[in-house]
Amino acid sequence: MVEHGDIRVVHCGGSKINFRDPVITHDSRFLLCASGEAVKVFSTSTEECIHELRGHTGLVTGVLLRPSNHLQVYSSSLDGTLRLWDFTDGILIKTCVIGYPIYSFYASDKHENVIFIVASMPSDKRRFQLVAVHLPQSGDQMVEAQELSAVLSGVNPNPAAIAFGRGGEFIASVNDLQWSLEGGWNTFTCVACHPKDDCIATGHEDGKIRLWRNFNHKKEYTYSTLHWHHSTVSSLCFTPEGTNLLSGGVESVLVQWRYNQESERDFLPRLGGAITHITVSPDGSLFCTSHSDNKITIIQSCVKVSAVIQGLVKGDIRTDLMMDPRSKALVLNGKPGHLQFYSLQRDKLLYNLDIVQQEYIHESGLQQFEVVKAAFDASGSWLATVEERHQKAAELELNLKLWAFDEQTQSFVLNTTISAPHDAQITAMCFCQPTDSQTTLLVSTSKDGHFKAWQLAAPAHTEDEGPSWLCDFVSAYHGLVPECCSFSADGSLLAVVFQEVVTVWSPSTWELLTTLSQPPGAVSDLCFGRLSCSKYLLGTTASNLLCWNLLTCSLEWTTSMDVRRLVADPLSENMAAFCYQSGSTDLFVFKPSEPRPLFSHKAVCSGKVTQAVFAPREEMLESCEESSQWLNRSQLYFLTQQMDLMTFTTKAEEDRLLASSKQVSSSHWFSMTPFYLLLGKHRQQQQEHQDSDSSLWAERTALPQTSASMKELLQTPAHVLPSTSYLCSMFVQSLLISVSDARSEKAHAEEEMESEKEEEDSEEEMESSRSKPELAAAAATESDTPALTKAQARELRRVRKLDHSWLAGLLDS
C-alpha cells in the first residue's frame, strides 16, 4: 500500500457564511462576510460572489470596515493576525501580527488606529479579555503590533456581547450572568448601543429586550422592557440614525421597533432558519440577516427581501449523498423538510426542493417531519423521498413520496404520496437502474421485516389523470429485518440483506433465486459490480469486506477490514471503501476482479465516513499515472463526521484550476443589465471568433472593447452621458476590429476632436458666411491641408451619422 503524494484531500465548497455578522459597504453594493479561512465579497444585487479574500491560515472571526477609509476592510482570524484588504480589487494591503488568537474585534470612529480585540487571558485560556491594539504606522506589508493594553477582562467571546456606544464613548459588555455596569437577573445574549443617545438595548434568553438608560449615574439607571419574542433574542441592532431597533431570534421573524414608540412594531416573518445576526448598511437602506441554515438575506427597507445568499446547509444530514443525474448536482438534506441541490462545479446552491410542504414552526424541541431517505432513478426523471416524524408516545408517521421531473418547469413535481408505506422506519430504498426498460421499480426495506416493491401503474379507470405508484410485491424472509437493498446494473437481480443473509431475487418473477451468507456479522452495505465486474456482489460486515461471485454463488475473496461505506463508481468498475481504523478513516479504491487496490490513502480524515458519492466529471481528465486514473471519469466526494464536504484532487487538476483563476477578468461583478448581456454576448462571440482565428494566445491583438470609450460608456451613469446619437458612432467604431488598433484609435480621437471643433466653427459660420462669403472662401483655401472643403466635410459627417444610426439599429435588433 503506497501513499501517493500527488492526490490530495481538499475541502470542497460550502463553508459557513453565517459564522459572524456580515458587513455591508458604504455604497450598499457589496456584502462582506467571514467564510471559513477567507472573507467573501458578495454583490448585494446579483448575489454572486465577486472575490474571495484569501490569506488567513485560521478561521476568520470578524470583518469590519476601516473607519477612516470605507474602501478598506479589516479581518481578524484565529491565526493571530489582523489583515487589511482592499475589497474592490481583492488585494491584501497590510498584515498585522498580534500573536494571540483573536475571537472577535471592534473599532470605533473616535479611536483612530486603535482596534479592540477579544483574546483569551494568558493565565486562563477559558477566560477572555478585551484588549486595545494600537496599530503601528508603517508602510510595511507585514507589521507586528507592540502596543497592547487590556481594557476589560472577563468578557464573553461572542461578538454580540460587546457594543460601543456613541461612537466609542463607552463600552457595553454583557456576560453570561452579570451586566458589567450593574447586575441583572436574566441571562443576557446580546447587546446593542444607540448611536446617538445614551441607551443600551440588551436581549435576553426569555425573549425580552431591555432598554437601559441613565447608566452614567451610579445606581440610578432605569430600564424598560419590550417583549414580543417567545424565545431567545439572538441579535439586536439599531439603525444608523437610531430611529429603529431591529431584533431577531429563533422564530425567524425580523421585528422592527420604533425607538421611543415601542408599541409600534413591524414584522417580517418566515425568513428561513433562526436569525443569528442582523446588520444594517451604513446608510440604513439595507438590512441583512444571517440565518442558522447558512443563509444571508438582504432586505430592502424592512419590507422586501431583495436577495438571498445561500450556502450549503450542513446541519443534520440524514440522507445519503446523491447525484442528480440531470443537473449533476449534489443532493442532500438542506433546510428542514427540504432537499438541496448543490452545484459542485460552481460551488453554489441551485435550489431547494420542498419535500414536506408544511409550514415549519420555529420552535425548539418540536418534532417535525424530516427527510430521511431519498433516491433518484438512473435517468433522473423520478425521485423518491421518505419523510418521518417520530413523536414520543405516538406512532411513527411515515410518508413515501414520489416526484416526477417536469420538463416544463424544470423541477420535480409530486406524483404520489404514500402515507404509512411501512409499519416501521424505512432502512433503505433503491430504484431499478436499467435505462432501457420502460417500467420503473422502487424497492424499500423497512424495520418491520418486509421489503416492498412499488411500481408505476396506469390508473384502473381511464378518466383519472396520470399514472401513479402502487405496491406490487411484499415479501419477508424468516422475520428478519432487511437492512439494505441493491439492484444489479442491468436490473435483472435484486439483492436484499437480511442481517447475515443476502437474498437474491429476480424482479421479473419475484422468485427467490439464492441466498448468500458469510457469518459472523450482519452485512451492512451492499453493492453490485459494474461493467466487466458485474458478476460480483460486494458486501461489508463489521469486520470483513466480502466479494461473492454470482455465477458460482460462492465467495470469491474476503479481506478483513471495518468498511463503513462502500461506493461504486457508476462510470467504471472502481469501488471505493472507507474503512474506520483507530480513530480515523482510510480509503481504498479497488476493482472487484483484482486483488490489489488501485489506490489507498491512509487517514483521509478523523472520525467515521458514512456518506460518500462518486460524481461524474464534466470533462474527462487525461491522467496517465496508474494511481490517479480512477479519478479520470468521476470525482469522489465524502462527508466527514464534522459535516465537512471533502474531495480528492490531483496535482494536474489543481494546476489547471490555478491557471484558469488567473484569467478571470475583474469586471465579472457588473450587474446583468440587458445592455450588458447584449455586449457580453457580442464580446463572447468575438472572443470565440478570435480564438479560432489565432492559434497562439500571445499573438492575439488587444481586444477593441477594452478601449476607454467602451469602459466610459458602460460605467458612467446614463444621465451624465451625452446623447445616444452622439455616442453611437464611437460605440460602433469601438466594436469594429481594426487592423492596426493603436493607429486607428489615435486617428479616431483626432478626428473626433476635429469634428467637434468643426461643429463649433460651422455654427459660427452659419451667420458669418452670409455676410462675409469671401472670408469664408479665404478660410477654405487657407485650410487646404485636409484637402476638403467645409461643405464636403459636413456632407461626409452627415453621411457617416446616417450610416451609423442605421448600423446601430441593425445591432439592436
Partner: protein, 524 residues
C-alpha cells in the same frame, strides 16, 4: 420571505364505485313515483306512439298511465281472473291481453269492452302479441301451445305444439310479419316461421325461459331464464354469443335502452342491471325494495317503470334539461365573459417587458388563524357545522396540524359544555373511521386528560363519554375478530401455496397496499 404554507388536507381515495359517464346518465332520474296496484305487476308495455302511455298488467286489471300522470288514464277491468301480458299494437290503437281463464281479449284503447275474444287455449295465456302486419295475434299458453289468430274473424290460424312445457314469453318480429319467437319452461327458445308452420331455429337456454328480447336490427336475441341472460346470434343460426350471470336470482324481465347501446335486466333479487351492449359489462345497477317482475323503459329513456311482487309500481322520470338549468340559475352570477377573460388572451410581443404581478394567495379561514397562531380559533373554525359534517377530513387535518405544532392541548382546553360536547360528538362520529383513527385517538386522549377533573359536572358530557367508551369497546372487539379472520386467511394462503425449496413466505397484497391493523391503546 416565504409565503405561508397552508395546512395540507389529506386526499383520501374515494371509496365505492367510480363515477363514469354511465353512472351519471343513469343517476339523472328523479325520485321514483310509487303507485300501489292490486296485485303483483306482471307486465309493463309502452305504447309505440306519442305520448307513450304504458299499460300495466296487475292482477285482474290493466291500467294505462300517461307519461306524467300518477292516476291511470284508462282501466280495463273486465277480466274474470288474473290478466297477463297487456300489449299495444304498433299503432297504439289496440291492446291485447291474456288471462288465467285461457281467453285472450282484444281491446280498443279508447273503449272499455273487449272488441274480440279469442277462445281456444285450454290453460292460462301468458303471452300475447301483435304481428308486424297488425292483423294477427300471437298467443302462448300453459297448455304448451302457441297459436296465431286472425283479428277480424277472431279465428285461429295455426297452432304450434313443439314446446313441451309452459310458454311464458315471446316476441314477434317487427320487420317480418311471419317470424316470431317464443320462450318456454322447457328451457328452449324457438324461432317460428308462419310460412313453414314449424320452428326454424331452436336454442337451448338451459333454464326455464322467463323473457326474450329482440334487438332492433333483429340479428341478436336476448333470452333470460334462471340467473342467466344469454345473447344469441340469429343470423348464425342461433349461435350463443355471451352468457351473463350477474344476478343471484331468476332474471324476470329485459329491456333495451332506446338507442340500443345498453341492455337492462331485472331480477327477483331486486336489482336492475344495465349492461353495455358492446362488451356486456355491467355499467350500472339500480336497487329496488322488492323482487322485480316486470320492467319497462320509455322511448329516449324518459322514464324507467318497474313492477314488483309487492304490487308496487315504481316510475322514475328523467330529469330534464330545464330542471338542471334552473338549479344553475340559482347559483351566484359570475362576472361576464368579457370581464373574465380581460387581458388573458393577449399574446405578449417580442419587445414587451413582462411585469409579473404576485398572485395573491387565498387562505382558508382556519389557515389564517393558524398563521396568527390563534390555535383555539382555528379549531373552532374547523369544527364549524359545514366542515364538520361535509368535510371531516379538513377538521382532522387541522387537528393533526395543531398536534404537529405541539399546541393541540392549548386548542382543546378551555371549552365550555357546548364546545366540548360538539368536539366529543365529532370524535364519536369519526373515531372508528380508519382514515382518521390515529389523529383522533391522540385528541381524545388529550381531552380526557384535560377534562378529567370536571367529569360528573355535566350530564351531557358524561353521556357522551359513556358513548365513547362503548364505541371503543365495540371497536376493539371488531379488531379482534378481524385479526382472527386474518390469521385464518394466512393459514389458508400458507397451505395453498406449493412448498418451495427455499423457505420464504410471500404473498401479493390484496388491495395493493399494506393491511394495517389499527392499534387502539385507549383507556377511558
Amino acid at each position: 420571505m416565504a409565503s405561508f404554507k397552508p395546512t395540507k388536507i389529506q386526499v383520501y381515495p374515494k371509496l365505492g364505485e367510480k363515477v363514469t359517464q354511465d353512472t351519471l346518465y343513469w343517476k339523472n332520474y328523479k325520485a321514483p313515483v310509487q303507485i300501489k296496484e292490486f296485485g303483483a305487476v306482471t307486465s309493463i308495455d309502452f305504447s309505440p306512439v306519442t305520448p307513450h302511455n304504458f299499460a300495466v298488467t296487475a292482477f285482474t286489471r290493466i291500467h294505462i298511465y300517461g307519461p306524467f300522470s300518477q292516476e291511470p288514464v284508462k282501466s280495463f277491468t273486465r277480466f274474470k281472473d288474473t290478466a297477463y301480458c297487456g300489449r299495444f299494437r304498433s299503432d297504439g290503437q289496440l291492446l291485447v291481453a291474456g288471462c288465467e281463464d285461457s281467453v285472450v281479449r282484444l281491446f280498443d284503447v279508447s273503449g272499455k269492452v273487449a272488441l274480440r275474444l279469442f277462445k281456444g287455449h285450454t290453460k292460462a295465456v301468458h303471452l300475447t302479441d301483435f304481428t308486424s302486419d297488425r292483423y294477427q295475434i300471437l298467443t302462448g299458453s300453459d297448455d304448451y301451445t302457441c297459436r296465431l289468430w286472425d283479428i277480424p274473424n277472431a279465428t285461429e290460424l295455426t297452432t304450434y305444439t313443439e314446446h313441451t312445457d309452459y310458454i311464458r314469453c315471446g316476441v314477434t318480429s317487427k320487420l317480418n310479419r311471419d317470424l316470431f319467437i317464443t320462450g318456454s319452461y322447457d328451457h328452449t327458445v324457438k324461432l317460428f316461421d308462419a310460412r313453414v308452420e314449424k320452428s326454424v331455429i331452436t336454442m337451448d337456454h338451459g333454464q326455464p325461459v322467463e323473457s326474450v328480447l329482440l334487438y332492433p336490427s333483429e340479428g341478436l336475441l336476448v333470452s333470460a331464464g334462471g340467473r342467466h341472460v344469454k345473447v344469441w346470434d340469429l343470423l348464425k343460426g342461433g349461435q350463443p354469443l355471451v352468457s351473463l350471470k350477474n344476478h343471484h336470482k331468476t332474471v324476470t324481465s329485459l329491456a333495451l335502452s332506446s338507442n340500443g347501446q345498453r341492455l337492462l335486466s331485472a331480477s327477483l333479487d331486486r336489482h336492475v342491471k344495465v349492461y353495455n351492449t358492446t362488451n356486456y359489462k355491467v355499467v350500472h345497477n339500480f336497487d329496488y325494495a322488492a323482487s322485480i317482475l316486470s320492467l319497462g323503459l320509455a322511448p329516449d329513456d324518459a322514464s324507467i317503470v318497474v313492477g314488483m311482487t309487492n304490487s308496487i309500481l315504481s316510475i322514475k322520470h328523467r330529469k330534464n334539461q330545464e330542471d338542471s338549468k334552473e338549479i344553475a340559475g340559482q347559483q351566484r352570477r359570475r362576472p361576464s365573459y368579457r370581464v373574465f377573460v380581460k387581458g388573458k388572451n393577449y399574446v405578449p410581443k417580442q419587445d414587451d417587458y413582462l411585469v409579473s404581478k404576485p398572485v395573491k394567495e387565498h387562505l382558508a379561514k382556519y389557515d389564517k388563524q393558524l398563521q396568527r397562531f390563534n390555535v383555539s380559533k382555528a379549531l373552532d373554525t374547523a369544527l364549524g357545522t359545514y366542515i364538520r359534517f361535509r368535510k371531516p377530513e379538513i377538521t382532522v387535518a387541522v387537528i393533526k396540524e395543531l398536534d404537529r405544532r405541539g399546541t393541540l392541548k392549548n386548542a382543546l382546553a378551555g371549552r365550555d359544555e357546548r364546545g366540548l360536547s360538539q368536539l366529543l360528538n365529532f370524535i364519536i362520529g369519526n373515531l372508528v373511521d380508519a382514515r382518521f383513527t390515529p389523529v383522533l385517538v391522540t385528541a381524545a386522549e388529550m381531552i380526557l386528560d384535560i377534562y378529567q377533573s370536571v367529569i360528573g359536572q355535566s350530564p351531557v358530557v358524561d353521556r357522551q363519554l359513556l358513548r365513547l367508551q362503548d364505541l371503543v369497546k365495540r371497536e376493539i372487539e371488531f379488531q379482534k375478530d378481524l385479526l382472527e379472520v386474518l390469521g385464518m386467511l394466512d393459514t389458508m394462503f400458507a397451505s395453498s401455496l406449493p412448498r418451495k425449496e427455499v423457505l420464504a413466505q410471500f404473498y401479493r397484497p390484496p388491495l395493493g397496499g399494506a393491511v394495517t391493523s389499527k392499534k387502539l391503546n385507549f383507556h377511558s
